[in-house]
């Protein structure tokens, strides 16, 4: 089985291609397996989640908005449990749920004014989702949801937990036609979210030449695709030097990130790999540190690749700015439950070989692959909506998530 698995090994690409031909449940299951094996990583996760939710909306059977919401959150929950540290899954689910609520309200407002008895009517009437992937328009009453949120939350959990009843949504004659329209609206909306996700890196990179100045020494710790694009974009306009660092061991003579280095060098930007564990030694020469986020919490803390907090701490020690790159879709409207818990252990076999029998038995190897970077070490959050500070994260989150969905918990035991 093992050898054949190699050639038939499921990948995200294959999965996404086969989405239309496969039954929904099979697609969900295979994505769950990919997530569990950590074969989908980084920014692909958001994309994959959006694809999957699109399938849920398009393929599954639902008669009412509540059923749809339940199905979406249920699928989201399963995906999130497969990769509990990937907070983007929850974000995309929240976005899609928010989208469904918006569309539903709109339909209802258009068709049967004031007829609705569902909790949705409590939402302020919202204009259509902007067709631009950019900032969503600020809703009237942005300041208010906080006071309502408790009540809304309770309502939502209730309806979600009893999705089959369908009593909260009136089923009029035109309902099925409505649902059909709703389905296509929601699908359009999800496609917009997918566009936003795929364009976020480019939009972030658009701010590169503002942040990076000629002659800068920029430290990129474990550059993510977002960071890579950012640096390359900057390199087109600026002459600077990039330090590349990672906590992984490089063999002598071998330098990682070869593709990135080649591109940067081709644009005339110097790259230097710091083959080092600690970064304090180099920090005096560094002008700024660029870190790619896996997710940003409501309190400004960032979930990052392991080791980023070393870079950020050292930068803080020498008062160098730390720029966190993160698409808005990575903003998570939750606080880290416990700082220490926010890390993920990885494969230990890279570090202690099985040939080394003694060590295998003896050592408690802890290879931490993701960790939490407290907000105090971050100076700027550079998003696809531009640079943000910690103080405005809450506003952005309020713009992007419905208050009903903010409290959505995907991390049930």
């Amino acid at each position: 089985m093992a050898p054949s698995q190699m050639s038939y090994a499921p990948t995200l690409g294959k999965l996404l291609k086969s989405l239309n031909s496969q039954p929904l449940e099979a697609s969900i299951e295979s994505l769950i397996y990919l997530l569990k094996r950590r074969q989908v990583k980084g920014d692909d996760i958001a994309n994959a989640t959006a694809h999957m939710l699109l399938q849920v909306v398009a393929k599954s059977k639902w008669q009412s908005v509540d059923q749809l919401l339940a199905k979406v959150s249920n699928t989201g929950l399963r995906l999130a449990q497969a990769a509990p540290t990937e907070l983007v899954i929850g974000n995309v689910v929240r976005r899609v749920m928010g989208l469904i609520r918006d569309e539903a309200t709109e339909e209802r407002n258009a068709d049967e004014m004031g007829d609705s008895v569902s909790d949705l009517s409590q939402l302020p009437a919202t204009p259509t989702m902007s067709s631009r992937p950019g900032p969503t328009p600020i809703r009237a009453g942005t300041g208010l949801p906080m006071s309502k949120s408790m009540f809304n939350l309770l309502c939502v959990t209730e309806t979600v937990s009893s999705p089959a009843t369908g009593t909260s949504t009136p089923m009029s004659q035109g309902a099925s036609a409505n649902m059909h329209a709703l389905r296509s609206e929601v699908i359009d909306g999800i496609e917009e979210i997918m566009d936003e996700i795929s364009q976020a890196d480019d939009q972030i990179a658009g701010f590169a030449d503002i942040q990076i100045h000629p002659g800068d020494y920029v430290l990129a710790y474990l550059p993510s695709p977002t960071v890579e694009r950012f640096l390359i974009k900057a390199a087109a306009k600026r002459r600077f030097t990039v330090f590349l660092a990672s906590g992984e061991r490089q063999k002598p003579g071998e330098a990682p990130h070869a593709a990135l280095r080649k591109k940067l060098n081709g644009l005339g930007v110097n790259t230097i790999s710091l083959a080092s564990n600690g970064l304090m030694a180099y920090m005096p020469r560094v002008n700024k540190v660029v870190i790619g986020a896996k997710a940003v919490y409501a309190n400004g803390g960032v979930s990052t690749e392991s080791g980023c907090s070393i870079a950020a701490r050292a930068a803080r020690e020498y008062s160098k700015p730390v720029i966190v790159l993160s698409g808005v879709y990575k903003f998570t409207p939750a606080d880290p439950s416990d700082d220490v818990a926010e890390f993920e252990q990885g494969d230990s076999s890279e570090f202690v070989e099985y040939a080394d029998g003694e060590a295998v038995n003896a050592l408690e190897v802890e290879n931490i692959v993701a960790e939490y970077l407290p907000a105090q070490y971050v100076d700027v959050y550079l998003t696809n909506l531009g640079p943000q500070t910690r103080d405005h994260l809450a506003t952005i989150m309020a713009d992007h998530y419905k208050s009903e969905d903010m409290g959505l918990s995907l991390h049930l035991p």
Binding site: N270, R285, F351, A362, E366
Partner: protein, 430 residues
């Protein structure tokens, strides 16, 4: 710089010189090593040294043969390098790293045949071991250097019309030191010890008989090794072991001899505790330490890099750090990454204790950033990539330093270094 001038012409006759040297060292070698064994108290080290020296010698002979046929280009390159050879390699390959740290020196393998003709074979061997990092930490290098110098002294004969006190240092000792420095920049401990040794030579009256002077120098070195290395290690590990809490978790970075000794001693004192080892993926000494400790029955958590450091610190009760040297301002010179660990630890309110022999203290040099005094790892220095071997840890992150001195309190703030040193020189100071 004088060597550069003399060095260049000396390169040409070197291969022939080799022939002569090969005969001489063989004889010179046997006598001192047996002497070392008789001294006995160095346990394994002289024996190990002998084995190493033998291996080196074989390699050297092979090399010497090669070099005879080797093109003179290599010799020329090396000659040009000479003392300023730090630049040699960097000018060649490093376009990128060059601008980063040209001033930072790097250990360099010098073909033994390229060495100055006056370099003693024992010193040659030590130099090779330093360049290849077989002798790595400052104390191992110091000890090997001193033992090699003993052999230099033993084989020294004052030329006619000269006195040992006038001739030995400039004509015999200095070429050895220059060679060693070329192989790898001297550690602070070596600098300190050589200063002591030179001042000892200068104390001799011009009329002191050669044998008496040699005897006295050999004895001085023995006592020095005994006091500043062997005993220091015992005292430090004893004092530091008391700091380990029962049922605590000791966190350490990489592998350092003193830390290892301390932990093992605490264990043999009957304490129960766990050790959390943060390793440097480029060095991986921590893995060896982990195995050793495991065999001693100590529970070990091993983390291969600095990732998730905060999590590890969360459960640590104190941090023990091994150091390479301590500057006059109390900053630590220690393996790269130590500063990050110390900073994170003090941010997490965990006690950070540095262990250091007083011979590693430097009272003249002050370092504020890590590029002031550092070395580049010669194995990882290319156009694209480089690695600094050390970093500087500010004293504000250090709760205290344990030295073999100050046995009253056992625990001195890092800034008290100068006072400690003064007291060391003159014990009458209160």
């Amino acid at each position: 710089m004088a060597t550069e001038a003399t060095g260049a012409p000396a390169e040409a006759p070197a291969p022939q010189e080799k022939g002569k040297q090969q005969a001489k060292p063989a004889a010179a070698k046997d006598t001192p090593t047996t002497g070392g064994d008789a001294a006995g108290e160095q346990k394994l080290t002289p024996a190990q040294l002998k084995a190493r020296a033998k291996a080196e010698k074989a390699a050297r002979r092979a090399k010497a043969k090669e070099v005879k046929e080797a093109p003179p280009a290599a010799a020329a390159a090396d000659a040009k390098g000479g003392k300023g050879s730090k630049g040699g390699k960097q000018e060649g390959g490093q376009s990128g790293s060059q601008q980063r740290a040209t001033h930072v020196p790097m250990a360099k393998r010098i073909q033994t045949s390229q060495a100055h003709k006056d370099v003693h074979p024992a010193v040659l061997a030590v130099g090779q071991q330093m360049a290849t990092f077989a002798l790595k930490d400052s104390i191992a290098r110091l000890e090997a250097t001193l033992l090699a110098f003993k052999k230099v002294i033993e084989s020294y004969e004052t030329p006619k019309g000269n006195s040992l006190s006038r001739h030995f240092v400039p004509h015999v000792l200095n070429p050895q030191i220059e060679y060693l420095t070329e192989c790898r920049p001297m550690s602070f401990s070596m600098g300190n010890a050589i200063r002591f040794l030179k001042s000892q030579v200068n104390k001799f009256d011009i009329d002191t008989p050669e044998d008496e002077a040699k005897e006295s120098l050999l004895e001085f070195i023995d006592i020095f090794i005994n006091e500043r290395i062997t005993l220091a290690e015992v005292v430090i590990s004893k004092n530091a072991a008391e700091l380990i809490d029962e049922d605590g978790v000791v966190l350490t970075y990489g592998r350092h001899r003193l830390v290892e000794k301390t932990i093992l001693r605490a264990k043999s004192n009957g304490k129960n505790f766990a050790v959390s080892i943060i390793d440097d993926p480029y060095d991986q000494g921590g893995k060896e330490l982990a195995k050793t400790l495991q065999q001693a029955g100590i529970p070990v958590f091993y983390s291969p890099n600095l990732g998730g450091l905060r999590v590890h610190l969360e459960r640590a009760s104190n941090v023990l750090l091994g150091t390479e040297a301590i500057f006059a301002n109390g900053s630590l010179l220690a393996p790269a990454g130590t500063a990050d660990v110390a900073m994170a630890a003090s941010a997490a309110n965990v006690k950070v204790v540095a262990l250091c022999e007083t011979i590693n203290f430097d009272r003249e040099r002050v370092s504020v950033d890590s590029l002031t005094y550092n070395e580049i790892d010669p194995e990882r220095c290319s156009a694209e990539s480089f690695r600094l071997m050390f970093d500087t840890t500010h004293s504000k992150y250090i709760t205290g330093v344990i030295t073999e001195f100050e046995s009253g309190t056992d625990f001195a703030p890092a800034q008290a270094i100068l006072t400690l040193l003064r007291k060391r020189e003159d014990p009458t100071i209160a």
